[in-house]
Amino acid sequence: MSIAMLVFIACGVMAVVGAIALILAREPVHSALALVLVMISLAILYLLLGAAFIAAIQILVYAGAIMVLFVFVIMLLNAGEEVRTNVSRLAKWVGLPLGVFFLAEMTYSLFREYGNRVAATTGAAAPVPASTQDLSIKLFTEFVLPFELTSILILIAVLGALVLAKRES
């Protein structure tokens, strides 16, 4: 078993454990910390896939900025333990089997489609890791219009958040 496989198994188990902990935790703060665990293990997986820039912004933006925002709101609203209520019967008897079926179907079709692709990637045609330089050249030439549009999106989001959170006097 190669080192890459070992790292993948470690990070994959960490991500799944974090996701389960997110669901099982009663306190929102514990869920937030579990989600940070998932994001950090995903960042290591991105490094394993050779996407260094994506791993960096995963840590900076997701695990840094967005999760700090979440923890800040939890603190501000003084969110305590979750109130336990009865899950609706529709969710329990229809939603859960459908979710399991959906997962099994997705896993089966992905495995059938890509399960035997490992031979193609180990030979001379093995993909090279994408460098940050290539990524930025593509981003600022081919995708420059969407890139500029995201700045407008962020501006509108900031204005929307300000208007929503404003206290009516």
Partner: protein
């Protein structure tokens, strides 16, 4: 080298757990976190496909997904704060004005 199918299955499992959290959690902030978990799972699939097919477009898409997730978190958490201020509760079952 790890086969791409392993990444895709991990991504599917994380997405499924995100859906389960979205349906079964009752705290509105935790539901939001489940949505973020689903977005992360999709990002993992994008990066894995991008590596497999040697195409940079997948990484660009992940970049935009992260930007949109940041904007969504800002607006969504502002909405959560308004709901918490008006209803004095973070339970989604108290927000049932448009419930059928």
């Amino acid at each position: 080298m790890v086969p791409i199918s392993y990444y895709l299955i991990l991504s599917a499992v994380l997405f499924g757990l995100g859906v389960v959290g979205f349906v079964f959690k009752r705290n509105i902030i935790t539901i939001f976190m489940a949505i973020e978990l689903m977005l992360n799972a999709v990002n993992l699939a994008f990066v894995a496909f991008s590596r497999e097919f040697n195409q940079l477009d997948g990484l660009i898409f992940v970049f935009f997904v992260i930007v949109v997730a940041a904007a969504e978190a800002a607006v969504g958490l502002a909405i959560v704060m308004v709901i918490a201020r008006n209803r004095k509760s973070l339970n989604v079952e108290d927000v049932n004005l448009m419930k059928f």
